[in-house]
Symmetry: D2
Subunit: 148 residues, 4 copies
């Protein structure tokens, strides 16, 4: 499960920052290793719900991004990534200075990968677990080649 291909960190970096949404959210990659990806964004009241916390949908976006790219770390060089489906449980209001998603591949399959992704907020140096999700990520074999 931990086999990577070529310079996967560079490919991941390029694909991740090509997303308009990641620039809009000011979301950055954190630690990346085989089967694991961390994504981090600062609090911004542009992305709040009706009580002033991070919107639960943004929690979902963060979890999804980390999950998709965690699967991507184990893909071959020409493969492309797309989320097939996910389920997320919101555990607590997402309140803090930053929001951090950490995803880890449970199973890397030929077409489908199963990835768990957890989201935390950090406030005054303390982390709080705010969401946990399970993702089915699809590998599009050879699709990255056609994108060019």
């Amino acid at each position: 499960m931990i086999k990577t291909h070529g310079d996967y960190k560079q490919r991941l970096h390029d694909s991740f920052y090509k997303q308009g949404l990641m620039q809009t959210l000011n979301c950055k990659l954190g630690e990346v290793s085989a089967g694991k990806v961390e994504a981090i964004m600062p609090f911004d009241d542009k992305f709040t719900q009706q009580h002033g916390y991070f919107h639960g949908g943004i929690t979902g976006v963060m979890a999804d991004n980390a999950a998709g790219y965690a699967a991507f770390t184990l893909f071959e060089e020409d493969d492309s990534v797309v989320t097939a489906e996910y389920k997320i449980n919101l555990l607590a209001p997402a309140q803090g200075e930053t929001i951090i998603a950490r995803a880890e591949v449970i199973k890397s399959g030929r077409t489908l990968s199963v990835v768990k992704s957890d989201v935390y907020t950090r406030l005054n140096g303390q982390e709080k677990h705010v969401a946990t999700g399970l993702f089915s990520i699809m590998r599009l074999i050879g699709a990255a080649k056609k994108e060019i």
Copy 2:
């Protein structure tokens, strides 16, 4: 299931537009009735994924908003709404001029409501079904009062 309370449309309107994220997305309420809510946003490349389509996370945000507020239409005046969990299947790339989420309550319970939410894109007057989801929405009884 179709009983509403007081001026639910006004309460819904107020709560919906209090969300920083809805202003950021330029997302508007569409048709609203007992147990049903529609939400609409225009395409904007600030919210794209790596291939230039609407980000799947934004599809989730739209589905979630419509779902939460569909449940809210059947709440009592002092109740507040929060998403407990959801699952969403992405059916097709979300490409179009607008993205539309339509949610409908399946079961309105005392604490938990089950809501289905479907997302469509519109391009040249044609709609395409891009996602389908199932949401568990929690009613916080009397919580709206405490928020003031």
Copy 3:
């Protein structure tokens, strides 16, 4: 989406009744058409939970069976079916003389199909909606041939 292949009803029948579990549950196929399958089983206290209702897990089994075989109706002759994942919301206690699952394909993809599946109980001629689920069903292309 509604294209079928060969005598799909016969293939479905053969595969469905090959399942030890369906005999154990005394579960039968109901109406079958392109993209739609109904499955029915009688109440039996061998399959109850701690309050004497149908066990929620059995509700899941019924929903899953109908979902998998609904996808199967649109497969080609040598394809085999397997459930990749599902999510189910239990809406009410499953109490009745019979339990009925009705599934319908939302999207039939090359490898993944998305299927919704609803479960009802029937008591004194009246149906009650007891569960709703969303399933990702995988097509194993050509796998049925290798099984022989």
Copy 4:
């Protein structure tokens, strides 16, 4: 999260074995501690799918049971348990001499608990991870009293 109430193991034991389905499956409780439950059943071709493996629905039943009772370990004496919803990803064919579900509470809330549940098969002394799921379990406060 790890607070238990009274003789929770005895209450759990009583409730678990009151289920007709657990006797039918010959399913037994394994290790039980605060927030954690293990359930074990032997292979039996009464519970197979069309290829002779454990039926995926049975995998779901096992995961669900362990999850519900893991939440139950943290309930007060008169509380009753019911599954609100779950999502499960099937990772591999469930083939083996026994099937084992291990569940652990992620968050124990007043009405809703979030529980992860993993399923393994054991064959020739080796375990294989065959499914992973995320469950929302509902606490019915004081309901156990009324059941008597």
